[in-house]
Amino acid sequence: MTLSRAAAIAGIGATEFSKDSGRSELRLAAECVTHALADAGLVASDVDGLVSFTMDGTAEIALARELGIPELSFFSRVHYGGGAAAATVQQAAMAVATGIADVVVTYRAFNERSGQRFGRVSAAAAAQVNSSGVDNAFHYPMGIATPAATVAMVAQRYLHDYGATSEDFGRIAVVDRAHAATNPAAWFHGRPITLAEHQASRWVAEPLHLLDCCQESDGGVALVVTSAERARDLRHPPAVVAAAAQGSGPDQYVMTSYYRDDLAALPEMGVVGRQLWAQSGLGPSDVDVAVLYDHFTPYVLMQLEELGFCGRGEAKDFIAGDTLTLNGPLPLNPHGGQLGEAYIHGMNGIAEAVRQVRGTAVNQVRGVDAVVVTAGTGVPTSGLVLTRD
C-alpha cells in the first residue's frame, strides 16, 4: 500500500481573516469546518476523523459537539507549531488510505492577533517543564525570545555565507504583497509594497525588517480529506495528495537549531523535499505553483534551496526578475502568503494550493497540474504535493 494518490482534499473552508474576530476560537473552528464541509458537499455526520495542531486551542471533541459530529474513529494532533500544517493532511490521508476513517477534517483556528500574539515573548514557552523548556533555557533568558529573533540569527549567517542582502529577503515580501493586492480575501488587499518601503520599514530583529515578518491574524481554515475515489463523486475536482511528508533533521531544535555545522540551512525541509519527490514521482521542474511557508522571508529563500529548485546559496539569483510572479516560471504564493493574505499557521496556503489545482483561485496560474506546499520552517516540518486527478 502506498500513500501517494490514495487520498484527496475535497473541501476547503475559511473564516474571514482579521485582526479582531470578535468571537471565540471554538466558534472560528466551527465556522471554517462548516464552510469546508459545504464546499465538499458533505455534512457533519459524514465526518469520522478530526486532526489539528497541538497548539490549537480547540479540542476535537468540543468541535464535534458544536457541529453535531456524532462519532469519531480517528483524532490526532501534530506538534511543532506551524510545522504541523501539511502534516495534518498527511495524518488524514494515512487514516483514509488505511481505512481507519472515511472523511477526515483538519483545522486550525485562532485569535492570534486579538488574543495571544505569537510575535511577543512567550513566558509560558520559556517556563514549560519538559524537554522543550530545558532547550529554551539556552536562549530565552539570553534574549532570543521571539520567533523573529530566532530566525534573525540564522538569516544573519545566511547573508554572511552567501553574500545575499536584505533586499533579497525584501523581494519575497514584494512578491507576496503584490499577489495579496489582487486577492480580496487578503488582509493586505489593495496594498502592494515597494522594495524601498521594505528597506525603510523599521527593524524588528536585525537583519529582519518589519516587512520581513508575517502578520498576526485572527481566523480559521479547514480542509476535508477523503479517498481520491470518493472525492471524484463530490462537488469539486479532487486535489489529489500525490505526496505528503514530515521531516526533522540532525540536531533538531524548535526554531533554534544553532548547533549544526551548517547554520544557514533547513535540513528538515530537505528531509521533506526528498520524500515529496520520491512519493509523487515528480521533481522541482514539474511544479507549476509553489506555496512556501513565509512567516519570515529568509526561510523562503532557504526552502527553494532545500526543495531543489536551486542550489545552496543560489536562491538570491534564482528569484531575480519575474521568476516568482504569476506569469513567471515558478509562481510563489498566489494568494499573497502569510505576509500578505493572513497568518493561519500555513493552513491558508494549503487551501490556496487546492484552489490552484481546481483552477478556481482569484490569482489563478494557467495550466496548473502540480502544486508544492510547505509548512512552518525552522521547526520539524511537513509538505505536500497536490495534483489534478
Partner: protein
C-alpha cells in the same frame, strides 16, 4: 461608533479651518536663530553671495522650518475653528489628558524666501483608537496642515499625535528564568561560580548538554571542561522589538563559537549594534541576576576591535556618514525656543518631571530639523529637500547623545530617497525617510 469617533467625524466633516497668517514674515533673524540652534551650516540659508549663485538664486529658509513660521507662540491661542483644539478637548474630556507627537511627514513644494508671509490651515483626517500603547491607552489623532503664500500651496504636513491616559509605571520585568534539569544543572551552577562549563563525554564536548553520550553507552558519565571564555561571533541578532523581560532595547545577542569548538548563546555587552560583525573576537562575561541565577554573556575581547563594517548586511547600500548630536540641556532648550515651541516639557525640568518624564526632552520640530541637517550635510548645500517623514520612538532626554545613521534606499537620476535613524541611550529615537534632489553634476 463610539462618542469619540462620532465627535471626530463631525470635526473632520467641517473640513479645514480658515487660514491663519503667521505672526511674522519669513525673516533672517528667525532663520539665524534656528540654524545656530540646530547646527546647520548650509550657506544657502545665511550667505547672500553663495545663495545668489546657487540653485536657489538667492537666500532661502530651511525647508524644515515650515512649521516654525506658523507656530502659535508663547501666548498664542488656537482659533475657534481649529480642529486640533476641538478634538483635543473631546479627548481631554474623555480622560485622555496627555499628548505626545508620533509622526510628522512634511512635504515641501518649494523653498520659502525672506519676506514671504505664510498662512496655514488645519484639517482633521481622523482618529484611531482606543489603542493600548506603552504609554497607556490612547487615541491617535491625524491632522493635515497646508501652508500657503498668497494662496499658493508651498508645503504640507501630516501630523499625528497620541492622546493618552498615562498608565501607572510598571516595575521592570524580571528576566525569563531557565528551566533546569538534572542534565543541565552543572552549567547553571558554573555560571554562578563564574565558570562557563561545557559538558564533556571522554574527548567529546557537547553544548547544549544532554543525558546521553555520543556512543550511546549507558555506563559512562559526563564531566565538564571550564571553557577559556574566548571565542568569535558566529552569528548575531540585534533585537529591536518587541520588549523582552530584563533587556533594554535594542540589544545584541550573539551565538559564539568558543575556541574549544562549541557554540554558546549570550547577550553581547559593551558593543554598539553597528560594531558587531561575524568573526568578532569576544570573551565570556557573567551577569548576576540574583543569588540563584547568573546568565552567560559576552564582551568584545579588545575594545575598538569591532570596527564598523558589517559584511553581508549593508555592503550593497550607500551609507551616510554618521552624525553625533550632544543633546545637552542647552541644546534641548535652545532648539525648542528656536522652533518657537514653548511647551514646558522642552525647557522646564520640574514641569517635565511632574508630567512623568525623567527630564526635559527634544521636540519634534527639532527632530525634523536635525534630519534635514544630517541629510543635507551628506548631499551638499544645493540639494533640494522634497520631504522629511519621521516617526518618533523613545524620547531623547537632556544629557543624551543621538547618533544619526542613514543609507540610500532608492536612486533615480538625481532623485534620491534616504532612510534615516537616530539612536540614543534608550534606543531608537527617530526613524524616517527623506526625499531629495541632488544638484546637477553630483555623482
Amino acid at each position: 461608533m463610539t462618542t469619540i469617533e462620532e465627535a471626530a467625524a463631525k470635526i473632520a466633516a467641517a473640513g479645514p479651518c480658515s487660514p491663519r497668517l503667521a505672526r511674522d514674515p519669513v525673516n533672517q533673524a528667525t532663520v539665524n536663530t534656528w540654524i545656530e540652534a540646530i547646527g546647520d551650516a548650509n550657506p544657502v540659508y545665511r550667505d547672500p553671495y553663495f545663495a545668489a549663485s546657487s540653485v536657489h538664486k538667492g537666500l532661502v529658509a530651511p525647508p524644515a522650518m515650515a512649521q516654525v513660521w506658523t507656530m502659535p507662540g508663547l501666548r498664542g491661542a488656537r482659533a475657534g475653528d481649529d480642529p486640533m483644539g476641538a478634538i483635543i478637548t473631546v479627548l481631554d474630556e474623555a480622560g485622555y489628558s496627555s499628548i505626545v507627537a508620533t509622526n510628522c511627514e512634511q512635504t515641501y513644494h518649494r523653498y520659502l524666501r525672506p519676506g514671504e508671509r505664510v498662512a496655514v490651515t488645519t484639517e482633521l483626517e481622523g482618529v484611531a483608537g482606543p489603542k493600548r500603547t506603552a504609554l497607556g491607552e490612547g487615541w491617535f489623532v491625524t491632522t493635515h496642515m497646508r501652508w500657503t503664500v498668497d494662496g499658493e500651496l508651498v508645503g504640507e504636513m501630516l501630523f499625528r499625535v497620541l492622546k493618552y491616559r498615562p498608565a501607572a509605571p510598571e516595575p521592570p520585568a524580571p528576566v525569563l528564568r531557565p528551566v533546569i534539569s538534572r542534565d543541565t544543572e552543572f552549567f547553571w551552577a558554573g555560571l554562578r561560580a563564574g565558570e562557563l562549563r561545557i559538558q564533556r563525554w571522554g574527548d567529546t564536548l557537547r553544548h547544549p548538554p544532554g543525558p546521553m553520550p555520543p556512543d550511546g553507552a549507558l555506563d559512562t558519565t559526563p564531566d565538564y571542561l571550564v571553557a577559556s571564555g574566548r571565542g568569535t561571533v558566529y552569528s548575531y541578532v540585534v533585537h529591536h522589538h518587541p520588549p523582552v523581560p530584563g533587556k533594554r532595547l535594542p540589544f545584541v545577542v550573539a551565538l559564539v563559537e568558543l575556541e574549544e569548538g562549541v557554540r554558546v548563546i549570550g547577550e553581547l555587552l559593551d558593543a554598539a549594534p553597528d560594531e558587531v560583525r561575524i568573526g568578532l573576537p569576544v570573551v565570556a562575561a557573567f551577569v548576576r541576576v540574583d543569588d540563584d541565577l547568573t546568565l552567560p554573556a559576552w564582551k568584545p575581547l579588545v575594545s575598538g576591535e569591532a570596527g564598523s563594517n558589517r559584511p553581508g548586511h549593508s555592503r550593497a547600500v550607500s551609507e551616510l556618514p554618521p552624525l553625533r548630536i550632544d543633546a545637552s540641556t542647552t541644546f534641548v532648550v535652545s532648539t525648542a525656543l528656536a522652533t518657537r515651541d514653548f511647551q514646558d516639557v522642552h525647557h522646564d525640568r520640574d514641569a517635565a518631571v511632574a508630567r512623568g518624564s525623567q527630564d526635559i526632552f527634544l521636540n519634534i520640530l527639532t527632530d525634523t530639523g536635525l534630519v534635514q541637517r544630517f541629510v543635507s550635510e551628506w548631499a551638499g548645500p544645493e540639494a533640494i529637500i522634497r520631504s522629511v517623514k519621521i516617526r518618533l520612538g523613545v524620547p531623547c532626554y537632556a544629557g543624551d547623545t543621538l547618533t544619526f545613521t542613514g543609507r540610500v534606499l532608492a536612486r533615480d537620476g538625481a532623485e534620491v530617497e534616504v532612510a534615516v535613524s537616530a539612536t540614543g541611550k534608550l534606543g531608537e529615537h527617530v526613524t524616517g525617510t527623506v526625499a531629495l534632489t541632488l544638484p546637477a553634476g553630483a555623482s
